[in-house]
Point group: C2
Chain length 440, copies 2
């Protein structure tokens, strides 16, 4: 068999791209294309190190976001560089893997090709791990007026917006306007909303009064949850303890309260009441990446792709789906299932190359945890339940250990220590990258 | 004398803003307005701590940029948060000073008022310390196509542009196009151009080949200087040693070479020759802030405002000019003159309040230094000349000591140590803040 010309082209970037076509043919190894360098995609790329395949990893960003820390960037506790190592660095030791920064626009499963904004690529095995996107639940006012809290640009945008609101409050002469500017509504009582609420209230209540001697004390944080309680993934007693912690910190926690619309300086609730607030942060849910729609198979209500017990698309035996896009046994859209699915698919591809049918995927649930403000956290690990300071220490230790680089561990530790000891989020800049020098 | 109503309004934000008009009148202290929270403005605000005045510091940004490190942000060596502490934190201990984030649009010197995009403010003493802006020398192609290297958004923009060029080079199939994308031209052989050239060549030559196994080795850095030699502020032997260091690192240093125009993927030189390059960084000069133009006095060719020996505008005895905007004894546009001028003006205002004429300002030149790539620097301090590793150590020690916060010192040291030991600039993200959630 002669190599497909497209593979040859793409091959110019593989470790033996400078070989001639005959030598290449002799060495022809299956091409595994991984779309998405998140928890699932990166785990898989690294696990394929010892499998005789060529791996091409594609992502629209050149960094991997350490998702549990994104809210800390939004709250000024960590820098983007601390939570997002470059993908190329993370796969540097994987000699059979390379990375392409590109946006995937579609999949031509008939011809085993992935279409991107930089051209198309062929594959022998395709693994889709594109993750999820913010779900605005079809509410146009959310899309237009709320700040979503999902990506790293989102987090920087929120940090800038909060700082900007406080600076504008400093100028406002009307006390009413000042109070609107100092009110922050967070929508969504899941882990992201809860963790951000706990972090931002600390920023507002403890730190900013030192900086804004006049306006800071008026700051108010409201956490809205449409369901009957926050943190539905956690046991009821743990979630209740988290709600108590948040209230003690000064967060106004309102459950059973759905948002209807966001207007200028105003949040309208489903029950007809209103909250005057200048800044709304949306953490009320995610949906699977729209990439699933290009496969031409029916999707679940969250936009997830139904998969077989071996995480493959039923009609496409060489296409795997992992992470948030995979609808498998109602697994939550969290890092842990994606990691285990990535580990599994490496073994499954190896089995298939040896003409063996892969064993079904089984999720081993190690538990869940969340941080609830400074010095307090909850964790639910098998039969164990941790809360308060012990829960916080556990969260911190676990996450320090799974950080990728020694430098990231050091800077995270220093920033957290500074925060714990001095209650001083170090990063309160309102700054964005400039694309080009602007005209005068 | 009854307090001016404008002062009363602005006074709502001073430490005793909640006092009634009679009590306020009794405590009426002169209002010092400082425009610009850079080296000069911040130094002055801090020195006025012990002078019986109320200080209002205005800047368009809520952070103070540690200018000697801006090029390190552009080269991925430090995070923005490491080089730009919040202004409010820096003046927190100055109980008679407060900060306003606003853009100054003009000065009404007749009525002693400063106009901003948030309304106007009155003053008894005005100190203009707005610094400088990029000078594109009237070249429209520079304005449109070059990346300026002056502000923090500039630095982040350059970091993103360099990363993006390398990612695009990874995709380019035409070797010619790949080489264009991997060529970076830096215009301007002053300290900023030289320091950035030394840092970026290290990033490109040592680090990226590990990440871009295929394209990185082609990267090329050209430093253009229109004058006969680089670093004209330094003694000739030191500047020559810096040029040798840069060439040893792999930078193509071209002196006596003026840029004529920048075209798509092409730099045209004054002698008619061309360099094919995808990214052009402009570090060829600054000019004083356009704010000087609103004073209605004649300016120098660099847009600076001529000042008396006491740093005041001749026709406006209560208006001081410090830093890059002040044309005083041909002082260079550097941090050090601004700092000394800030220290001086605090004393001058105190003298004037005691009805004494201030002594003239005298600049005590402590010397200049620059870093020239990894592990090499030059310094010119009085009769002493340092170069090479000793010059680098001296630069590092001095700058670590003048960093504002303990946390900034720690993270800078960790990042520099990581860079020196592992040749690994930690921050290679291509990321920008998102303003609002974008429409689907």
């Amino acid at each position: 068999m002669l190599p497909d010309p497209a593979v040859q082209k793409a091959g110019a970037a593989t470790p033996y791209g400078d070989l001639g076509p005959v030598e290449r043919m002799a060495r022809r190894r299956p091409q595994v294309l991984i779309v998405g360098a998140g928890w699932g995609g990166l785990t898989l790329a690294r696990r394929l190190r010892s499998v005789p395949v060529d791996v091409e990893l594609i992502d629209r960003n050149n960094y991997r976001v350490f998702s549990p820390f994104v809210y800390q960037v939004a709250a000024g506790m960590l820098s983007p560089g601390d939570v997002a190592p470059p993908v190329r660095k993370l796969i540097r030791s994987v000699s059979n893997a390379s990375f392409l920064k590109a946006e995937v626009t579609g999949i031509d499963a008939q011809n085993c090709r992935v279409l991107t904004d930089h051209g198309s690529l062929s594959y022998d095995y395709l693994v889709l791990a594109p993750g999820s996107v913010t779900n605005d639940l079809g509410n146009a006012t959310v899309r237009e007026r709320a700040y979503s809290l999902k990506t790293l640009p989102d987090a920087l945008g929120i940090r800038n917006a909060v700082m900007d609101a406080l600076e504008r409050a400093r100028w406002a002469e009307d006390p009413q306007q000042r109070s609107v500017l100092s009110t922050f509504v967070i929508v969504g009582g899941g882990p992201v909303g809860v963790e951000y609420a706990g972090a931002v209230i600390d920023l507002l209540r403890a730190v900013l009064p030192k900086d804004f001697r006049d306006a800071g004390h008026e700051a108010k944080v409201v956490l809205l949850e449409a369901g009957p309680r926050i943190l539905p993934l956690f046991d009821e007693p743990l979630a209740a303890s988290a709600a108590r912690s948040l209230r003690k910190l000064g967060v106004e926690v309102r459950t059973g309260t759905a948002l209807k619309a966001i207007d200028q300086d105003m949040v309208e609730l489903a029950d007809g009441s209103r909250i005057e607030a200048g800044t709304v942060i949306w953490a009320a849910g995610v949906k699977a990446s729209p990439l699933g729609g290009t496969l031409g198979v029916p999707l679940t209500s969250q936009g997830r792709v139904p998969v077989t017990s071996t995480l493959r698309v039923k009609s496409l035996p060489n296409v795997f789906i992992i992470g948030d896009l995979a609808a498998h046994a109602d697994l939550p859209m969290l890092a842990r299932p994606a990691i285990e699915e990535g580990e599994y698919v490496a073994k499954a591809i190896h089995s298939m190359m040896l003409d063996r049918e892969p064993e079904p995927f089984v999720y081993k649930d190690p538990g869940i945890m969340a941080i609830v403000g400074r010095g307090s956290g909850i964790a639910q690990i098998g039969p164990f339940r941790l809360r308060g300071f012990i829960g916080w220490l556990f969260w911190l230790t676990y996450h320090i250990l799974i950080l990728d680089t020694i430098r990231a561990r050091f800077t995270a530790l220093i920033n957290w220590a500074a925060l714990f000891l001095f209650r001083e989020p170090p990063l309160r800049l309102d700054v964005s990258a400039k694309r080009r020098q602007a005209p005068d």
